[in-house]
């Protein structure tokens, strides 16, 4: 293990973005130069061996995802590479830093991934509210085009890459990779049927890879420094460092690049500084709104894809939301379900009907109208929206905090019933 912080170490203290010059001075754009010499299969191989897993929340092994893209002469073109910069998972604020602080790093990552799949066109799909990210990316893209790093024959090679920034018009569903494809095609961001996977039929029906910003930002470093180096960044089997964050009533809410597998307790107590004075820790969502609650008993759990899953939750985006004792857990879950019900795209029945129902029931609890029978209904809705029952992962994610709240905070629900009001009011 090394305590290197490849993703953030070059970022400036004043929060300004690195210019192309500054980025190159810090060693930037060497990864893509090397990748251009390697050939697609070797790049994919190296990424597969590095055990890089997607940082968008699902943790799918990145190299293995690429391996399904048809390569060579007979492959359909244009092929597309998309950076998923739609960051809208409540409690998540990591990709913003990468784009605002070092946009060229993302661009280089996209170039590397594009080479691996022989993509011709790349998009950054950015949520519309990230104005500063948009400005900085726009500038970086212009710089890269001017330097000949984008466009035809990049870096003097025989290959070209077009790269565009697309600003979204809102909706959480745009972050779901196939919803994103529809949004980028100028359609309603409903999810698409899988299979066929985007690797075969994606944007405009062509082979496409969608990858989270943080995932992409890792690529230049993997190419530059090699597989062994990357693995050593981590405490666990999942390679690399990870951007971890914490929000809620902790002393120092923030974002830190740390070895993958840093424990939850370390994150909470050392990096976030523990709970604020006067409030007690009750639980947390480890990686955004669509993960299951964990509690005191899980503080020793390593934050990586495998370990968090073992205790019944998911690492998700790695940005924790902390629940304290002065916040009503039922209210918090209501807030979450209201978000999900509102963002349901309206395609599949369990999601558009089930989530709004859950939200209504939780609201009733908050108003003092909840009953024990309602708890059964909530449990039913959680099962109703289980993975596989719905068209995409929004609804299964949506019920994760709910199902775990019903497990860990059942007494709090019952207090609402007994007291006929929210005890935190």
């Amino acid at each position: 293990m090394t305590s290197e912080r490849p993703l953030t170490k070059d970022m400036k203290a004043d929060g300004e973005a690195l210019t192309l010059k500054e980025y190159e001075r810090a060693g930037g754009y060497q990864g893509i130069r090397k990748a251009l010499r390697m050939g697609p299969k070797d790049i994919t191989d190296q990424v597969t061996k590095s055990s890089l897993r997607g940082r968008g929340g699902a943790g799918f092994p990145t190299g293995s995802k690429w391996s399904f893209v048809p390569l060579g002469k007979d492959a359909p073109h244009p092929k597309y590479l998309i950076a998923n910069a739609d960051e809208m998972e409540p409690g998540t604020f990591k990709d913003r830093l990468l784009m605002e602080g070092n946009p060229h790093q993302l661009l280089e990552g996209m170039m590397v991934a594009s080479r691996a799949i022989e993509a011709d066109v790349a998009f950054v799909f950015l949520r519309g509210e990230y104005v500063l990210s948009a400005q900085r990316l726009q500038r970086a893209i212009a710089e890269a085009y001017a330097a000949g790093y984008l466009g035809e024959k990049i870096f003097g090679s025989e290959v070209g890459l077009e790269l565009h920034l697309h600003l979204s018009a809102g909706r959480y569903m745009c972050g779901e990779e196939t919803g994103l494809l529809n949004a980028l095609e100028g359609k309603r961001a409903n999810p698409r049927t899988k299979p066929p996977y985007p690797q075969i039929s994606g944007l405009f029906g062509k082979p496409t890879i969608v990858q989270n910003v943080e995932t992409l930002a890792n690529l230049p470093h993997i190419i530059n420094n090699g597989v062994e180096w990357f693995k050593k960044l981590s405490y666990s089997a999942d390679g690399g460092s990870k951007l971890y964050g914490a929000s809620g009533k902790v002393k120092r809410p923030g974002l830190w690049e740390l070895p993958m597998g840093t424990t939850i307790g370390e994150l909470l107590h050392e990096h976030a500084g523990g709970m604020r004075d006067g409030v007690e820790f009750r639980g947390l969502l480890p990686g955004g709104a669509s993960t299951d609650f964990l509690t005191e008993e899980h503080l020793d759990v390593k934050m990586d894809f495998t370990e968090v899953q073992k205790v019944g939750s998911r690492m998700g985006t790695g940005t924790m939301i902390i629940l304290d004792d002065q916040t009503c857990p039922v209210g918090m879950v209501w807030n979450l379900e209201d978000f999900f019900a509102q963002e349901s795209c309206g395609w599949c029945t369990p999601c558009w009907s089930g989530l709004r129902w859950a939200e209504r029931i939780l609201w009733a609890f908050e108003q003092g109208h909840g009953s024990e029978a309602d708890l059964e209904k909530l449990e039913w809705i959680c099962k109703f929206c289980a993975p596989g029952n719905t068209f995409c992962a929004l609804a299964p994610g949506a019920v994760e905090p709910l199902q775990s709240a019903l497990k860990y905070f059942r007494d709090d629900f019952l207090r609402h019933v007994r007291e006929k009001q929210c005890p935190w009011r």
Binding site: P78, E87, M88, E89, P90, G91, T92, F93, D95, R96, F123, R127, G128, E129, Y130, V131, L132, H164, H166, L167, S168, A169, G170, R171, Y172, A183, L184, E185, G186, K187, R188, A189, F204, G245, A246, S247, G248, K249, P253, G254, L255, L285, A289, T319, I321, I322, L323, D324, T327, G331, M332, N335, L336, F339, Q342, E343, C345
Partner: protein, 154 residues
Amino acid sequence: MLSSEERGEIEAEMLKYPNKQAACIDALKIVQRRRGWISDESIREIAEFLGISTDELDGVATFYNLIYRKPVGRHVILLCNSVSCWIMGYNRLRKRLCERLEIQLGETTADGRFTLLPIVCLGTCDHAPALMVDDDLHRDLSPDSAEQILERYR
């Protein structure tokens, strides 16, 4: 009629995609930036320009929350109501803003100065609660500081 600037900007976006329809969200945003919101007339104009039907375009426009299909004030306040901000004092913030502006969420002030809209997580949870006014992000807010910030927008 779309202005020549609007058309020029939309045409520039069209170059990114293999068909015109794909530029429709960009087109909506371009027109909204200039006109504040997307009226039925704007829908017709953009649809015609892109060669798609008004129904097609309106189906898209009504899906996305950053496309305003109703008139908005000179400044749009996007108040984050997602979980971290909710924990950190969203309710107090909302209450104060509503009182101060004498409107509810989703409404526009009588003088047409502000429209107050809820928004999902703004991705700045370590500085909650937060809001945006137009393109500016404001963070670590209290009801008082939020009120002061509004003074900057006329």
